[in-house]
């Protein structure tokens, strides 16, 4: 065969193969589960002491919840494919850079003992404390924890963050609140603040064994994207 014909066949092979793969890639990317981002609410400017110095930062607030099932709405009708899996209300959080972020977490779920008491401590928040139902704490009882919010990352821009707050067990037995398709009890409210640095994407997950499987109960909800883990995008 002539060289020209060989070149043509080669090019056709590469282009058609490339097109097929690109289509598969786009199909996959759009089929992959995505949650809409939850942006923090802007509250105003505030002054915070960071590293001994007083700085003026944007103050934003973010409210999320931890639920004993997936019926509250974000996973779709009927709670999605796994309605009985525990779930955070959002896996896609967005906060601005160089701000003071005040997070409020409504903890609706029951709990039990942590498998590593390390995570019963509060890490990385302003003042090293969190507020649980109005009370200021630096650590909680490791045998009665519902979930944790453990945020970490040393992303490409090199402002590391490590914030970990235990969310105590919710002992209430009645379920008067209706959110989405689920019935929930009055939440344990945990509030804490931390300071963000430069832009980056950080990852957070729960460090309480609330998933399935025999191995540390970190399977199922804990190991599946979009339930007990997520990203915090600092923009």
């Amino acid at each position: 065969m002539s060289r020209a014909r060989a070149m043509v066949i080669a090019l056709v092979s590469i282009v058609s193969g490339g097109v097929v793969m690109a289509l598969m890639g786009f199909g996959l990317a759009s089929a992959a589960p995505h949650q809409a981002p939850q942006n923090a609410k802007y509250l105003g400017m505030t002054t915070v002491t960071v590293g001994g110095k007083s700085v003026s930062l944007k103050h934003v607030a973010l409210t999320i919840g931890t639920f004993p099932d997936s019926l509250f709405g974000v996973h779709g009708a009927g709670g999605g494919t796994h309605p009985d899996w525990v779930s955070y209300s959002s896996s896609n959080l967005v906060v601005p850079a160089h701000s003071l972020v005040t997070m409020t977490i409504n903890q609706y779920d029951s709990g039990g003992p942590l498998n590593n008491p390390f995570f019963a401590n509060v890490f990385g928040t302003v003042g090293g404390t969190a507020t649980v139902d109005g009370k200021v704490v630096t650590k909680v009882d490791p045998s009665a924890i519902g979930h944790t919010f453990t945020l970490r990352g040393i992303p490409q821009n090199a402002t590391p963050l490590f914030v970990s707050v235990p969310l105590p067990e919710n002992f209430a037995t009645d379920t008067p609140l209706t959110i989405g398709e689920g019935q929930y009890s009055k939440p344990v409210v945990v509030t804490f603040s931390f300071v963000t640095g430069t832009k980056g994407i950080y990852n957070w997950n729960c460090e309480f064994p609330c998933g399935g499987s025999r191995i540390g109960q970190f399977g199922q909800a804990m190991s599946t994207y979009g339930y007990m883990s997520g990203t915090l995008t600092v923009k």
Partner: protein, 246 residues
């Protein structure tokens, strides 16, 4: 089989190609590893880099021999006519060459082995730092936590005093993780239910990386933290300033 003139000519030319490739290879072997690898923060890491240099230098002439011969073959013995080439000489074996090849590759292997065993022995204790100290490392999906036995200090980032021999007792709460201090050349797996041990003496003050090296699920790539090697006084200050967490 007697070496004919053809053999002699080929060996002569190949020798020069071999020499050039070996020299280039040795130069790259000496310079490249330290340039490419992370900074060395312990004697163990220094040994790693040294070993890579030695192995590369040893491999260079071997690679050069193979590449020189194939290059020569491609250029000199390539049949440039049409159709099926005529048969080549019926050289079925050369016992001397085979024996020399096997013996020299065995000796090279033994040399590399002795180097490796010696390196292991030297490094066995994890360096000869003073004031031996223990740190308990716990891996879990997907974070590292460190506790200092004898104190109530617990931290998500590792702090160590320089020039002391540190022994890590590493375990896991769920699945297997890999505890790796990148710049110190130490790595041991964190297994559930058992404690594995590794020792090292950090010899350079600075901040280095710890990365998980056994796939542990969703956030394996984010199971990354840092180690801060401080002077003795700075470390003592850090230790005493930590709240009681453990």
């Amino acid at each position: 089989m007697a070496t004919s003139n053809d053999n002699k000519k080929a060996i002569y030319s190949i020798f020069w190609i071999w020499l050039v490739i070996t020299i280039v290879g040795v130069l790259i072997s000496i310079k490249a590893p330290a340039w490419l690898m992370p900074t060395s923060a312990s004697s163990s890491m220094h040994l790693v880099i040294e070993t890579i240099v030695v192995f590369s230098v040893a491999a260079a002439p071997v690679a050069a021999l193979v590449y020189a011969t194939t290059l020569y073959a491609l250029v000199k013995w390539r049949w440039r006519g049409d159709g099926v080439p005529p048969d080549g000489p019926n050289l079925r074996n050369n016992s001397t060459l085979t024996a020399v090849w096997i013996v020299s590759s065995t000796m090279l292997t033994i040399f590399l082995l002795i180097w490796g065993l010696a390196a292991l022995a030297v490094d066995e204790g994890g360096g000869n730092g003073k004031n031996p100290m223990t740190v308990n490392v716990t891996g879990q999906q997907w974070a590292w936590s460190f506790t200092y036995p004898g104190t109530h200090v617990a931290s998500n980032e590792l702090y160590l005093p320089v020039n002391d021999k540190i022994t890590f007792n590493v375990t896991s709460k769920d699945v297997v993780h890999g505890f790796w201090i990148v710049q110190m050349g130490v790595k041991v797996n964190a297994n559930p239910g058992v404690s594995t041990t590794v020792s090292v003496t950090p010899n350079k003050i600075g901040t280095y990386d710890i990365r998980c090296t056994e796939i542990c699920g969703l956030y394996h790539a984010y199971m990354v933290t840092r180690v801060h090697v401080l002077s003795d006084t700075a470390f003592a200050k850090w230790l005493s300033s930590q709240p009681s967490r453990a």
